[in-house]
C-alpha cells in the first residue's frame, strides 16, 4: 500500500481574547493510503473543516498552522512549500470540494470557464483544449448536455448540478487525493444519493484517496474504509468502518450513534447527548468531553491519549484500559 498522505500533530491556532491563542485543531493525526477513503466525522465546530483547509494551506488569516505540525504528501513536506511550489500541489495533487456550491462558485464566470481555469493552472494547454477537457469532465459527472451547460452561469443550475460542477473542478487537474467537505449537506436528500454515487464512481475510476468530511454517519457506512471521529479539535476515536459501527467505544461516538433514529430494531427513545459543543476558549482541562459524558472516568481530569482497543481501533478515553468496565457497558447498551 502506498501512503499518499501523512498528518501528524496538526495544530491550528487563532487569536483568542487578550493576546492568547486558541487551537480549534489540536494535535490531529491520520494517514491516507492510495485508493482508500477516510471519513472525518464530527459535529460543526469540532475542527474538521479547518483540518482539511490546512492540508492545502488555506487556513484563513489570522489563523495559522503551528510549528511542530507535519503534513506530508508522499515525499513532499507541505508545510515547507512556498509560492509557486505550494500553488502546484493545490488542485494537482489534492483537490477539494467545498460545502456550499452556490457561494463556492464565482457567480460572474461561466462554469465551463471555471473548470478550464483549473486545468490551465496546471497543464500547458490551449484555451480550446482546456474547454474540451472541461466538457469531458462535465460529462463524466453526469451533467446532461455538457456542451451547452458549460456556457451556463452558476445561478442557472440546480443545487445538484452545481455540486457536480464543483466535483468536476476538483478533478480538473487529476489529483491523487480528493477532499470532500460536507459534499451533500447543502443538497436535497434525493440529490445527495446521486452525488455520492458520482463520487464513488470517479474515485474507483481514478484510484484516488478520499478524505470525506461529514457530520452524517449515514453516508459513511458502505463508503468509507476507515472512520475518525473528531470532537473539540481532537480525534477521539478511529477504526475501520465496520469495527466502528459494530463497537463504538468512545462515549461521544456512542452518543452519536444513539442519536440516530433507526428504522429497524426495537422502538425506543432517542438518546441525545446532553449539553452543547463548547467553544475553543471554553474547553476544560483534561478530557474535553467530560462535561457531557454519562460516565466520567475517575482519571478524566488528565487528558487521555489515543489508546489502543484492538486491531486498528483506538480511542481517546481512559476507559480503554478498563476492559471490564467496557464490557459491562456494552451489555447494557445492546440489551
Amino acid at each position: 500500500m502506498s501512503r499518499v498522505l501523512e498528518v501528524e500533530n496538526l495544530r491550528v491556532t487563532f487569536p483568542g481574547a487578550a493576546a492568547t491563542r486558541v487551537s480549534p485543531v489540536d494535535g490531529v493525526a491520520f494517514t491516507l493510503d492510495r485508493g482508500e477513503t477516510l471519513a472525518l466525522v464530527g459535529e460543526s465546530g469540532c475542527g474538521k473543516s479547518l483540518t482539511s483547509l490546512s492540508l492545502l494551506r488555506l487556513v484563513p488569516p489570522p489563523g495559522r498552522i503551528e510549528a511542530g505540525s507535519t503534513i506530508r504528501l508522499g515525499d513532499t513536506d507541505v508545510l515547507a512549500l512556498e509560492g509557486e511550489a505550494l500553488r502546484r500541489i493545490r488542485g494537482r495533487r489534492i483537490g477539494m470540494i467545498f460545502q456550499d456550491p452556490m457561494s463556492s462558485l464565482n457567480p460572474v464566470l461561466r462554469v465551463g470557464d471555471q473548470i478550464a481555469e483549473g486545468i490551465r493552472a496546471h497543464f500547458d494547454v490551449s484555451k480550446r483544449e482546456a474547454r474540451e477537457r472541461a466538457v469531458a469532465l462535465l460529462r463524466e459527472v453526469d451533467i446532461p448536455d455538457p456542451v451547452s451547460r458549460a456556457e451556463a452561469y452558476p445561478h442557472q443550475l440546480s443545487g445538484g448540478m452545481r455540486q457536480r460542477v464543483m466535483i468536476a473542478i476538483a478533478l480538473a487537474a487529476e489529483p491523487e487525493i480528493l477532499i470532500a467537505d460536507e459534499p451533500t449537506t447543502a443538497l436535497d436528500v434525493t440529490v445527495q444519493a446521486q452525488i455520492l454515487e458520482v463520487l464513488d464512481r470517479l474515485q474507483a475510476a481514478r484510484g484516488m484517496a478520499v478524505l470525506l468530511i461529514t457530520h452524517d454517519l449515514g453516508i459513511v457506512a458502505g463508503r468509507a474504509d476507515r472512520v475518525a471521529v473528531m470532537y473539540a479539535g481532537q480525534i477521539v476515536e478511529e477504526a475501520a468502518t465496520g469495527e466502528l459501527f459494530a463497537r463504538p467505544s468512545h462515549p461521544y461516538t456512542q452518543g452519536l450513534f444513539g442519536s440516530i433514529p433507526r428504522l429497524s430494531g426495537p422502538v425506543g427513545r432517542l438518546t441525545p447527548i446532553s449539553g452543547t459543543v463548547p467553544a475553543p476558549h471554553a474547553w476544560p482541562d483534561g478530557c474535553r468531553f467530560r462535561p457531557r459524558c454519562p460516565i466520567v472516568h475517575p482519571r478524566s481530569q488528565e487528558m487521555p491519549p489515543l489508546l489502543a482497543l484492538g486491531a486498528g481501533h483506538r480511542m481517546r478515553c481512559w476507559l480503554a484500559n478498563d476492559s471490564d468496565e467496557r464490557d459491562k457497558r456494552e451489555e447494557t447498551r445492546d440489551g
Binding site: R87, I89, V108
Partner: protein
C-alpha cells in the same frame, strides 16, 4: 436577452421620469413655501414704484394664481425652459449651458482620479489588510473625509497660489494670456488653473472612495469562491484580478452613481473659493442674488444628472452581472 434588456431599460426610464416629475413638483413647492419675497432683493437696490413692481411681477408671472404658475412652470421645464434669470436677465437654460463645460471638466477629472487611484488604493488596502500600509492609508482617508472642502481650498489657494506662487488660485484661465496663444499654451494654462480646484475635490472625495472600495474588496475576499479558486491552484494574481476584482467592481459602480452629485455639489464650495466658472459658482452667486429661476434650473439639472447616473449605473450592473440580467 437583448429584448429583455431593452424592456428593462424602458421600465427604468419610466421610473426615472416619475422621479423627475416629483423632483419638479418638490422644487416648485420649495420655492413657494419659503418665506420672503422673490422680488424683494431687486426692490431693495433702489426705490421702486408700485407700477414697476406690478410690471416686474407680471414679467415673472408672479401675479397669476398658483395653479397657473405651476402649469406654465411644468410646461417650461419639459421644454428645458426654466424662465429668465432675475440677476442676469437672460434665459436660465442658456446660462446653465454656458457653465456646464467648466463643471464637467472639473468633475470629470475628479471622477477619473477617484475611479483609478481611489479604487486602486482601496483594493491595495484590502489585500494588505492590517498592515502598516493599510493603517496609514486608513488614517489618510479618515482625515481627508473630515476636511471641509472650502477650507482646504482656501488653505491650498493661500499656500500654493499666493505664498509659493506655484499655481494660479482663481478662475479658469489667465486673463492676461495672449489671445493668439497656441493650443498648447492655452491647454497648459487651463490645466494649471484646473490643478488646485481639482486637487481640493480629489482629496475630499478620494477618502470616501478608498474606504468604500476597501470594504467592498474585503467582503469579496471573504467569499468561498475565492477559496475555491486558490484550491484549484490558480495563481494569486489571477485570483485577485479575475475573481476578486470583477466582483468587487459592482459596489464601485454603485459608488459611481453616488459620486455623480460630486460633479455639481462638491463643486459649489470649491468653485466659489477658486472662482471656477461652473454650475457651482453660478448656484452660489444665485443664492446671494435670490435668483429663484436660476436656482431652480440648476437644482433641476443637478437632480437630472443624479437620476441619469443612477440609470447608467444600473445599466452597467445589468451588463456585468449575469444574475441581474436574468432577473431583468
Amino acid at each position: 436577452m437583448a429584448r429583455g434588456l431593452s424592456g428593462w431599460l424602458a421600465a427604468r426610464a419610466v421610473q426615472a421620469m416619475a422621479t423627475l416629475a416629483v423632483v419638479l413638483i418638490l422644487l416648485f413647492v420649495l420655492m413657494r413655501i419659503a418665506p420672503g419675497d422673490p422680488l424683494g432683493r431687486l426692490a431693495s437696490d433702489r426705490p421702486i414704484t408700485p407700477a414697476e413692481t406690478a410690471a416686474l411681477r407680471a414679467r415673472y408671472g408672479l401675479d397669476r394664481p398658483i395653479a397657473a404658475q405651476f402649469a406654465s412652470y411644468v410646461q417650461g421645464a419639459v421644454r428645458g425652459d426654466f424662465g429668465t434669470s432675475i440677476e442676469y436677465g437672460r434665459p436660465v437654460g442658456a446660462l446653465i449651458a454656458e457653465r456646464l463645460p467648466a463643471t464637467f471638466l472639473l468633475g470629470g477629472v475628479v471622477l477619473l482620479v477617484n475611479f483609478t487611484v481611489g479604487i486602486w488604493l482601496g483594493a491595495l488596502q484590502a489585500t494588505n489588510r492590517g498592515t502598516l500600509l493599510d493603517r496609514l492609508l486608513t488614517a489618510v482617508s479618515l482625515a481627508g473625509h473630515a476636511v471641509p472642502s472650502f477650507w482646504l481650498g482656501l488653505v491650498l489657494a493661500w499656500l500654493v497660489g499666493v505664498r509659493w506662487r506655484l499655481l494660479p488660485a482663481a478662475g479658469m484661465q489667465n486673463p492676461l494670456l495672449d489671445p493668439d496663444a497656441g493650443l498648447a499654451a492655452r491647454t497648459a494654462d487651463l490645466l494649471a488653473h484646473l490643478a488646485l480646484p481639482a486637487l481640493t475635490l480629489c482629496v475630499v472625495s478620494l477618502a470616501g472612495t478608498m474606504r468604500y472600495q476597501r470594504r467592498a474588496m474585503i467582503e469579496v475576499l471573504r467569499f468561498p469562491y475565492i477559496a475555491t479558486a486558490r484550491a484549484k491552484g490558480v495563481p494569486e494574481s489571477q485570483v485577485l484580478h479575475r475573481h476578486a476584482w470583477r466582483n468587487a467592481l459592482f459596489p464601485v459602480l454603485t459608488l459611481f452613481g453616488l459620486w455623480l452629485p460630486i460633479l455639481v455639489t462638491g463643486a459649489v464650495f470649491v468653485e466659489s473659493v477658486f472662482a471656477w466658472p461652473g454650475l457651482g459658482l453660478l448656484a452660489a452667486d444665485a443664492v446671494g442674488a435670490r435668483d429663484y429661476p436660476l436656482l431652480m434650473g440648476t437644482a433641476a439639472l443637478a437632480a437630472g444628472l443624479v437620476i441619469l447616473g443612477g440609470i447608467v449605473t444600473d445599466l452597467a450592473y445589468a451588463m456585468l452581472d449575469p444574475r441581474v440580467r436574468a432577473a431583468a
